[in-house]
């Protein structure tokens, strides 16, 4: 028998012991006290009443603004993200979904050098791509896009803070948002133990992870310094 199998049995035996003790204590208590049948019935009536009341109250509780997305909608959201990602990698700006556009800037540079700096995170939180233009001017266009992010029915796009972009004369500074933790409760009527494989598949299907994309349009004569390796493509 493997150590893992032995260890997995131990909690079960522990619970077995706890329940056995509860039943023993319950039995000895009922022997000592005259716990009448009427009292038993009342305990059961009250418990069932509380359960039914809780089921009713749950219907009335609002869900803090989170929305449920039907499973078939996830496929659509994933496809939209994928189409955007491909267009982004191929520098096909005309195919970018305008709904993903968050903000855009235009900056006139001083000199022929543009430095891109990422701060606030060990790993870049944005994906960056540069389209080289034939323009002779010093203008740089910066566009920020954000694709869909849903997890277990929660629209994360509304909850996740975006990176901040600071544009200076010779620099574009991408500031990662401060570290944040979000916890959500999700309730299930199903026994997870009996559908662990299915539920993992279902949960993976219910997860759409989007990214923040920075798209730069830079004239060819400008020298871009990307020390942090933000430009993947």
């Amino acid at each position: 028998m493997s150590n893992f199998a032995m260890l997995s049995i131990l909690p079960f035996l522990g619970i077995l012991f706890i329940i056995w003790r509860i039943l023993r204590v319950a039995k000895s208590t009922s022997n000592r006290f005259n716990w009448s049948q009427r009292l038993n019935k009342w305990v059961l009536y009250i418990y069932v009443g509380i359960l039914l009341l809780a089921a009713f109250v749950y219907e009335l509780i609002s869900a803090n603004g989170d929305e449920i997305v039907a499973p078939k909608e996830y496929t659509m959201l994933k496809t939209e993200n994928k189409v955007f990602q491909q267009a982004f990698e191929n520098n096909e700006e005309s195919k970018f979904d305008p709904n993903f556009l968050v903000e855009e800037w235009t900056q006139e540079l001083e000199g022929d050098t543009l430095e891109i700096i990422s701060i606030g995170s060990n790993f870049p939180t944005e994906r960056l791509n540069i389209e080289w233009t034939d323009s002779k001017e010093q203008l740089v266009e910066v566009k920020m896009y954000k694709t869909h992010s849903y997890m277990d029915g929660i629209n994360l796009g509304e909850e996740i803070p975006l990176s901040k972009i600071e544009i200076k004369d010779k620099q574009i500074i991408l500031k990662a948002p401060p570290h944040k933790e979000l916890t959500y409760y999700r309730f299930s009527n199903e026994l997870a133990a009996l559908s662990i494989v299915d539920s993992l598949d279902v949960r993976e299907q219910r997860r759409v992870l989007g990214y923040t994309y920075i798209y730069l349009k830079v004239p060819k004569h400008i020298n871009v310094i990307d020390k942090d390796g933000l430009q993947f493509y």
Partner: protein, 243 residues
Amino acid sequence: MFLSNSTLGEVVRTQVKFKMNAYLGTLVSLVFVQLLGLVFSMNGTSSMSTNINNTDIQVVVVSTDTVFIFVAIWALFIGNVITTKGYRNSNLSFVTNSFSNNLSNIIVLIMMSVFAGVTTFLSNNILRTVLPLFNNVDYVKSVSIIDDPLGSIINMGLLICLILMISAGGYLWGTLVYMHKAYMFLLIVLIIATPTTKTGQMILQFIFVDNGSLLFLIVKLIGVSIVLFVLAIVCSNRLEVRR
């Protein structure tokens, strides 16, 4: 010659009525067991987490699994307990035989399983109501009984059948222990042997894994329960004299 002739149905009905009243305390113990399970469920059954833009996102899933584990062990003991000497002696109040006694016990276990299954299913609603009130976290509106009545009934049925199968196992165990005390250790041996031996794993896989739908699983569980109850009746019939 008797002044009145009772049919098997009448005898069993009288016994069930008496036993349900006599064993009401076991249902109260179920309430406490479920409440204990709910306390242990408060941290969730499983969780999924990811990180986007420096933000750690965690979705904690709260299901009835923990409560069910507690109730399953309760069912095992209850199936066992009603075969013990104290409970058997209560049969002396009736004109009965082994078969009618077993039949009434089985009906009582079925009724208790239905109660345990329904309340286990509904117990999740207590957490649904309490957790958002006392925790400073957001929660996702999850499928409720009204949203998915058919799914809820199937899940409730599944819980009932699982609890019934476990109580049937407990009943068979109790009957065997009544035959010979050495069978007391059978449960421990089975708990260790089933998940660790090939045969045990095959049985578990046949019952719980190879199922097209939950309804098929329910049918299998009912089948296993019937087999366990029949075995208990057969073993019990071998006991001719009350010990």
